[in-house]
Amino acid sequence: MTSDNRPASLAFPRWISFSKVVHRETIIGWLFVLPALLMYAVFVLLPFLLSIQYSFYRWNGIGPMTWVGLHNYETVLEVPNLLGTISNAFRLVVYFSFIPVTLGLVVASVMTRVATGRLGAVARTVLFLPQVIPLVAAGIIWGWLLALPGLINQILKAVGLGSFTRAWLGDFDWALPAVGFIGIWVLLGFCTVLLWTGMTRLDPALYESARIDGAGWLTEFGKITVPLLRHEIGVCLTVTVIAALAAFDIVYVSTAGGPGNATAVPGIQIYILAFTQQRIGLASALAVMLMALVLVVVIPIQRLSRESTQ
């Protein structure tokens, strides 16, 4: 909607031309946007562009920069340690994203059916709690619980699964899943509450008619709930995928990338490359690839989830 159909003549003396009014409003409007745009451009867009620039150089942060073209990108793709961080990031996506979304759908569905009153409200509050604490706190708490003498192993022993006990975060096979589990703990509440909100907006008449047609819970779920919640599911996936690919806080505090390179994720590697090893160019190349990766994964999700709305 533009100001074309507004009777400007009522508000302003006739001799001020219409285009001037529009022009003036545009300028003021842009002035409204300017502060936000400025902060964003200087502290987000500019570093983003600088990252791209640095990635083409070899630089230790202090001395001169040497142009190396695509060499840093080649290094990322060749050195197994670096390439491995990207595959670890994708493995985390399974834990941080797919599981919370799927489980969240189930839990939200259960909530709308059996816990519409106080139990539901309390459950939503409790499940959301991990969202509110700093991720580093989650890392520290779970680091303690997952240790050899920690609570998880104690529970395993108590239920007779004592042979499964181990130092989870120090085990080559289980460190990444353990970190993934921390992520599930943090993100499940978010997805559950988001999906529940979406579900409460669905028209119960749809379910009634489906039931009359003889549909079971699973069919209802697959043919009505999930498609209609496409938008919310898309949001859930987007947020959690970004959390997985960009993970830093939790990993830094619980395993620091170990053991070996089992939990080395791009976020941690960028930090080490840039600040310990002073290889700014290489760190920037990895950072650019990370950002490109996020876009490559998120854009299709957004497209798919947008088809019916707007």
Partner: protein, 439 residues
């Protein structure tokens, strides 16, 4: 004649003028830098968990009230990551803990301490470890200009729990590697944990200590030091080192280390050892005060025995390295602090009592007294042995700024997990070393 008189007086006056102009410089060149009398605030960065620099700073202010301290402390890993930024920033520290220093010296971020060394006479100290803080023009360590000083000189070896050791029949420290292997096997049979160590990536892989001790037990220390000092052509992948690494692998496979070692942090390992878990632990004398507190009278120390009977024991012995930023505001005062730590009686006493390590310093100074029953007695005595044998080494973890985090730690963790063998370990670390040096 009048002219002659005038000429002579002019000459004399010139002579006086010249002398007066240059005399202050001559005097200054011989005077020793100090902290002056004006209020001075030393900007310092220390590592969390180590009391000794804090206590020394306190005592220094007591003796020199015009000097106050602005001390910031951070975790080891955070400090390593921040050091390049701190040194090149706008408020460079007067004193900063420096686990590695070659790249910083090369980039001109550290103050060259040669002038102070000659002013204070550090070059005459009978402490060979001073050389570990020298960096030559070509970037190799061990010779050249001095870029850092140690607050004390530590010694690394094997601590043991006396009670548990008696339980397995150890009456005196083993004299050969074979004897030590016997003791480890006996401990395992008796159901005890033979060796407590740490290995989480958060504090780094502690198995580097026994590995290096084994390397020095099987071979000479020069090649190891050459590799650490980045001498051209140096390699860690040598035949005798391979035997050492295989020996370590056997220890791992025999279950001599805790099963969850990859998740144990440094402080946890010491806490558990203090509570009686583990007969032996490879560690350094900086931990003496902690062990004396947790296990008073129950902890002993011995150097890693050589492979062959009668060989010289070798040990890692390194300065607790601190440096001064190149653009530090109070460099003179910081240098004076270095000198004070090594020569002042009270400082030396604190150093030995709390730091547990040799304070270095000029010859002729009395070694401070240590209470009987403290394990520091044994570490100081061992330090003398190593000094005389000339078999001290720096730490293999210090070869480059990232060799520990990117090389030793992940590869040793893999070896614990059965995913890496001795030959692969040395090759992988050497590759990482060469890759970093070529950048």
């Amino acid at each position: 004649m009048f002219k002659m008189h005038k000429f002579l007086s002019t000459v004399v006056m010139l002579a006086i003028l010249v002398t007066v102009t240059y005399m202050p410089n001559a005097v200054a060149a011989q005077s020793v830098p100090d902290c002056g009398t004006e209020p001075v605030t030393l900007n310092a960065y220390f590592e969390t968990g180590f009391d000794i620099p804090f206590k020394l700073a306190e005592e220094f202010t007591k003796q020199y009230p015009n000097v106050t301290w602005d001390i910031k402390q951070d975790q080891f890993t955070n400090l390593i990551n921040s050091t390049p930024r701190l040194l090149s920033g706008d408020n460079p520290p007067d004193l900063i803990r420096l686990p590695t220093m070659v790249s910083f010296a090369e980039q001109g971020l550290l103050k060259n301490l040669d002038e102070y060394a000659s002013a204070f006479g550090w070059n005459e100290w009978p402490v060979p470890q001073l050389n570990q803080n020298r960096v030559a023009e070509d970037g190799t360590r061990g010779s050249g200009s001095l870029y850092a000083m140690g607050l004390n000189y530590s010694l690394t070896g094997i601590f043991y729990n006396r009670e548990l050791a008696a339980q397995i029949g150890m009456t005196e420290p083993p004299k050969t590697l074979a004897e030590f292997d016997d003791l480890l096997a006996k401990a395992k049979e008796a159901g005890l944990l033979p060796i407590m160590m740490w290995g989480s990536a958060k504090s780094g892989m502690g198995l580097a200590f026994p590995l290096q001790n084994l390397m020095a037990a099987y071979g000479p220390v020069e090649p190891i030091n050459d590799w650490i000092f980045q001498k051209p052509g140096a390699t860690i992948d040598t035949p005798s080192n391979l035997i050492a690494a295989q020996h370590l692998q056997r220890w791992i496979e025999n279950g001599y280390f805790p099963p969850d070692i990859n998740a144990i942090e440094y402080t946890d390992a010491n806490a558990r050892f203090g509570k009686g878990e583990g007969v032996f632990i490879f560690n350094g004398d900086w931990q003496n005060a902690g062990y004396d507190t947790d296990m008073p009278g129950n902890v002993g120390f011995f150097l890693m025995p050589p492979a062959e009977e009668g060989g010289s024991p070798a040990a890692m012995s390194a300065p607790l390295t601190f440096g001064i930023a190149a653009r530090a505001k109070n460099a003179d005062c910081a240098a004076f602090f270095f000198n004070w730590v090594a020569s002042n009686d009270v400082a030396r006493q604190i150093n030995v009592a709390i730091g547990g390590s040799n304070p270095g310093g000029p010859s002729g100074l009395v070694m401070p007294e240590v209470p009987a029953g403290s394990v520091t007695n044994e570490t100081l005595a061992a330090g003398v042995v190593v000094g005389e044998a000339g078999t001290s080494m720096d730490f293999i973890a210090n070869a480059t700024s990232a060799i520990f985090a990117q090389g030793w730690t992940p590869e040793l963790q893999k070896m614990v997990g059965g995913r890496q063998d001795a030959a692969g370990l040395l090759k992988a670390v050497q590759e990482e070393y060469e890759r970093e040096l070529s950048e």
